[in-house]
Symmetry: C2
Subunit: 140 residues, 2 copies
Amino acid sequence: MLHMDIQQMLKERRLRATPARVATLDVLLSAGRALTHHEVEESLAAAGNRLDRVTLYRTLDFLVEEDLAHRLSGEDRTWRFSAQDKRSGHAHPHFCCSGCGATLCLGDLNPAMVVGLPEGYSFQQAELTIRGLCPACNHA
Amino acid sequence: MLHMDIQQMLKERRLRATPARVATLDVLLSAGRALTHHEVEESLAAAGNRLDRVTLYRTLDFLVEEDLAHRLSGEDRTWRFSAQDKRSGHAHPHFCCSGCGATLCLGDLNPAMVVGLPEGYSFQQAELTIRGLCPACNHA
DNA sequence: TATCCATATGCAACATTGTTGCACAAAATT
DNA sequence: AATTTTGTGCAACAATGTTGCATATGGATA
């Protein structure tokens, strides 16, 4: 996406359109999948937008808080961030490749799934992660 | 559970019934929920069975490999271990409390849920995590 | 356009969680 | 009992994420 458009995205929400945010959002929007902090860092560096580690952590946190990105937990204890899916906020089905860790978002979940909590428990959110092999790892 | 019985569990599978394993398994079996490494460590120490951090990591890995325990990833980037549910290996619905992080296993998943992967992707396992509040946190 | 202030950034230090290598101890096997 | 195999503890390291603080900067205001 054009940086102009990304700046616009931020300004529409009355948020500061700093270079760090624009570049980070650009990386997330361009990726076809959820990226780790490290992957974002490398991607930024490759594009000549080197950011401090801490700044990137804070920028990613910021984007998540402002609902411009989505933080999801994988099987490898590292957060992954995605700006792709602005799907309904309460049900996030993901696919996670056992081969390479690639993570991406699938379609909506059927809320009917989320029933049968024990007495006294309250529901907030459901997350379904399907593990398997992505096309690349299927062939390897 | 009695230590005798736990030793039996291990020996039936031709595994060495070391004190570290028996004590760790005991802690996991007695807990009504999945425990973090740290929680297991504390629980062991409280029972006078202090274990080295590394030994505990390795013991937990061992139990998972031998299918005596189950490792699950939470929202806080730390593994949790449970010896409770020897439910079907391919679908693990969990409940995770947003208040205190307590994690426990719910009933079986309907495998029909796991359909609709994009072309080229292969299925291995599904994990559904429901977030919400446990009874204690609901009242607090 | 120049000034100013809230806030974003970078740096250093730290915290947490998990891993690796190696020497020693304990179990199992003979 | 001796030997082999495996488990344990210690030290050091690695990866991921956090906190405090000084400085730089975006964007509102004059």
